[in-house]
């Protein structure tokens, strides 16, 4: 539907090599505002490396990333977060010793205004001073963000709200994934990258997660999704991109990609060809 507009995210010839291995090999991708594109492919196909390149955790050896028409290739992750790009991590990177509330509040960090005056040079010192003095504007902002966090956690029903003050290390695996997504939502992202949000979840938890992602999409959020559970991918995606050994081997609507012989070969033939590599930057 929104394909006619200029894409929100656009990758051109994105490439990343590790020694002799080309983890991401000339990937082109367009993601329209409000769209949901899924990236699938066998382990080691380069999906997570692609995410790292888009979010600034890794720098590409070639190609460009543009966001809303601006070249953002190689910008630092901090800058990209400030631009509204949020992600979750494949293996789950919550802040273990922080409470659920604090974890999600970190997600809202780029939205802090009152406590982080945009003054050059002495800005950090002002931030320290304001944090210690805590004038009413700072308190009000913190309070507002805490309310926001509770509203976000409420999306996960009774999964997280009762555990809001518990440290994240004490949560179940599935709940840590939820905290990660809540943290990403707290950034109020314009682009959300989800790296296997349902990894390690049972079928009912997966269904819950799928409903949440569908809801986010319906609200107009632009999403790039890495997922192994094909059922979920088929139902959610506007378009599916299949990667294998760093290359895009197929692209199109879910149903079409699913029947593509190259895709079947990549999934089934991979183990036999003996070239399977560890996912280099998992």
């Amino acid at each position: 539907m929104a394909e006619a507009l200029a894409p929100l995210l656009s990758l051109r010839g994105l490439t990343r090599r590790f020694g002799g291995l080309t983890a991401v090999d000339g990937i082109d991708l367009d993601l329209a505002k409000g769209g949901l594109v899924s990236i699938i492919g066998p382990n080691g196909a380069g999906k997570t490396t692609l995410f790292n390149l888009v979010t600034g955790l890794d720098r590409p050896d070639g190609g460009t990333v543009s966001f809303e028409g601006q070249d953002i290739t190689g910008l630092s992750p901090e800058r990209l977060a400030a631009q509204g790009i949020a992600r979750t991590f494949q293996l789950g990177r919550v802040f273990g010793n922080l409470s659920v509330m604090d974890n999600v509040l970190i997600g809202a960090h780029t939205r802090l205004r009152a406590v982080k005056p945009a003054v050059p040079v002495i800005g950090p010192l002002l931030e320290l001073g304001l944090a210690l003095l805590r004038p009413s504007s700072v308190k009000a902002e913190e309070e507002r963000l805490r309310e926001d966090v509770k509203a976000i956690l409420a999306r996960f029903g009774e999964r997280l709200l009762p555990r809001i003050d518990q440290p994240a290390y004490s949560l179940s695996y599935a709940n840590r994934r939820r905290v990660e997504i809540a943290r990403a939502l707290a950034l109020k992202p314009r682009l959300l990258l989800l790296d296997e949000p349902t990894a390690g979840m049972n079928p009912s938890e997966t269904a819950e997660m799928q409903a949440l992602v569908a809801e986010l999409k319906a609200e107009g959020l632009t999403i790039l999704l890495i997922e192994h559970k094909l059922e979920m991918v088929m139902q959610l995606s506007d378009r599916v991109i299949v990667m294998d050994e760093g290359k895009k081997i197929a692209e199109g609507p879910g149903g079409q990609v699913r029947g593509d012989p190259k895709v079947i070969e990549a999934y089934l033939g991979h183990g036999l060809s003996g070239t399977a590599e560890q996912e280099s930057a998992a």
């Binding site: 991590f89 010793n97 970190i106 960090h109 210690l132």
Partner: protein, 607 residues
């Protein structure tokens, strides 16, 4: 011209010695991703075993070398088996702290056995010099070069052509995969620690003979030099460590040639900082590394802090405040004054090491900056003492943060190395910058503490002053931890990659933590200067940094109340039990080891 050849030969010989230490460090790092801070202690043990063999037992040279290698290897095996293996599955900070603790325990044991006085370690070779080109070379130079080169060759053959050597290489490439393929990783670790320790011990022996003198201060120097050489060559890279060692030897030797002996270490540490900043993976690392794997588990032990009710804290503050009014002895007040000063340092370190996860080993340098600033301002510019102490805190905050900033992009062990080196640089600058710091003479006649024109002479007034300052700093720090900054600091500690992905700038927040922590440490140093009335470059030394670290671990990382409780415990308990001063460092080291092993979250828990 001829002297340049001499300096080159000297640089290469010293480089050979460093190589023996650095290769051991590289092997250990390769297999267990651990920088063994105890390597210098093994070197020290080697030197003293050598002394016993040569002077007491009159062993011939080949036998001396064998005895030293065997004893040192046994020490290495003991360290691996009892110090590190139990920590295999614990948080990443644990083995780092353990090797620091082991190093202090070993150094102190050697010092208690042999006394800290230097001893002569006679070379067992004839004292002749051969003319080589324009320079000269002696048999000991040749022996050192021979031992260095043959060890490197033996190691190469071992790693390349023996089954155990393959296992070592496999384990260093991928420990988990090696384990799954049936490699006995414990055996590999033992082998590596044994070899590393034997090389380290022999190196200590050779250096002792080279300078014909050994003393207990050798240990820290050797660790630092070995680590510098290893990091320059690329951590875990054995050939890199050899080349790094030669480079370090040459840089030092030429530096000494141009600027004089007292600058030797300065060049070593500047080389380290430059390499860490420009090429943190070493000179020979392949261009850009894959981004690090997500780390399972956190850097510090997860725990739930003990919650102390506010009224209890208020009662404690009041009780401690009225203490001087009660009939308590001068001795108790004096002890508590020391505890409050250490408490301020611990507050600083618990923020830096605990809250934001930068385990600093050079924290005493912040004391020194504060102390010198305050002392010099009050002495030379007649600044009132109260203001001078404040200025000392600010200077420590500013200068400390600037000095430490090259380490902001480093992680874990590297931060500790960098801070250790930066701490040494500060102490060397104080020693050498005579026009400002009065060099080795130190500063005497520092005016006593005073406030608004009133001298604080009585023990009670000094007590109140130190206690009040500490309480204010603690309250401020507690308030900081409750703000968004506390949250940001702890997030960076737990996972800096995820923190960056959510817009947290590491430079910004690490700077803020060091600014706040630097102020507290600087104030502590400033007060100490006016209390002691005399300071020099050794007043604030690495032992204090380690003591502060033990306090912080004891109290619970990041825990404000814990830092103060830990300071009282570690200053007070030795007094209560009347433990002689020379045993205290030993006890601190043992306490650190026991804590890491049995209660990593400390008394009050990590925050």
């Amino acid at each position: 011209m001829s002297s340049w050849l001499d300096y080159t030969i000297n640089g290469l010989i010293v480089g050979n010695v460093y190589a023996l230490v650095a290769v051991g460090l590289a092997l250990i790092f390769g297999v267990s991703r651990l920088i063994n801070f105890a390597q210098g202690s093994i070197y020290l043990v080697g030197a003293y075993i050598g002394w016993v063999a040569v002077v007491q037992l009159h062993t011939p040279l080949p036998l001396t070398i064998i005895v030293v290698a065997v004893v040192a290897a046994v020490v290495g095996l003991i360290i691996e088996r009892f110090g590190l293996r139990p920590l295999q599955n614990s948080v990443r900070i644990a083995p780092l702290l353990a090797t620091i603790g082991i190093s202090f325990v070993l150094d102190q044991l050697v010092m208690l056995t042999f006394s800290p006085n230097p001893r002569a370690l006679p070379s067992q070779l004839p004292d002749v010099r051969f003319q080589v080109g324009g320079g000269t070379i002696g048999p000991l130079d040749l022996l050192i070069a021979g031992v260095g080169i043959s060890s490197a060759l033996l190691l190469f053959v071992f790693l390349r052509y023996t089954k155990l050597g393959w296992a070592v290489r496999a384990a260093s490439q991928d420990r988990d995969a090696a384990m799954q393929m049936g490699v006995d990783v414990n055996r590999v670790n033992q082998t590596v620690f044994g070899i590393a320790a034997a090389l380290g011990g022999v190196s200590g022996l050779l250096v002792g003979m080279y300078y014909n003198q050994i003393d207990t201060a050798m240990s820290l120097q050797a660790t630092l030099k070995g680590v510098v050489a290893e990091v320059v060559g690329g951590a875990g890279n054995v050939p890199g460590a050899v080349i790094g060692s030669m480079l370090l030897g040459l840089v030092e030797s030429y530096g000494v040639a141009v600027f004089g002996t007292s600058y030797r270490n300065l060049f070593a540490f500047l080389l380290l900082v430059v390499v860490l900043v420009l090429r943190p993976n070493g000179l020979f690392a392949s261009a850009r590394q894959a981004p690090p794997e997500p780390l399972t588990g956190t850097f510090i032990a997860p725990s739930r802090p003990v919650r102390i009710p506010r009224w209890a804290l208020a009662v404690a503050i009041v009780a401690l405040a009225i203490l001087p009014l009660l009939p308590v002895s001068f001795y108790i007040l004096q002890t508590l004054i020391n505890a409050w000063l250490l408490g301020m340092l611990a507050l600083s370190l618990t923020l830096v090491a605990g809250t934001i996860g930068q385990v600093s080993l050079g924290h005493a340098a912040l004391l020194a900056i504060g102390a010198y600033t305050s002392a010099l301002l009050s002495l030379t510019l007649n600044v009132p003492v109260g203001l001078a102490i404040m200025a000392g805190g600010l200077m420590s905050a500013a200068l400390g943060t600037i000095l430490i900033s090259p380490s902001f992009r480093l992680r874990g062990h590297y931060v500790s190395i960098a801070t250790l080196a930066i701490g040494e640089i500060v102490s060397l600058v104080i020693l050498n910058w005579e026009s400002v710091t009065r060099g080795p003479i130190g500063i005497s006649g520092i005016p006593p503490l005073s406030l608004f024109g009133y001298d604080l002479i009585s023990p009670a007034s000094v007590y109140w002053f130190a206690f009040a300052v500490m309480v204010v700093l603690a309250l401020l720090q507690a308030r900081l931890l409750g703000s968004h900054l506390g949250r940001c600091f702890r997030a960076i500690r737990d996972d800096d990659i995820a923190a960056r992905a959510y817009g947290l700038s590491l430079n910004r927040y690490k700077s803020l933590a060091f600014i706040f922590g630097g102020f507290a440490a600087g104030v502590s140093g400033g007060i100490a200067a006016h209390l002691y009335s005399y300071i020099n470059h050794e007043t604030f030394n690495t032992q204090q940094s380690i003591l502060a670290l033990t306090v912080v671990i004891l109290g619970g990382l990041g825990n404000v109340v814990g830092a103060i409780l830990g300071a009282v415990a570690l200053v007070g308990l030795p007094e209560v039990f009347r433990i002689a001063a020379e045993y205290r460092i030993l006890i601190y080291g043992i306490v650190l080891l026991l804590l890491v092993r049995f209660r990593p979250q400390g008394l009050l828990g990590t925050i």
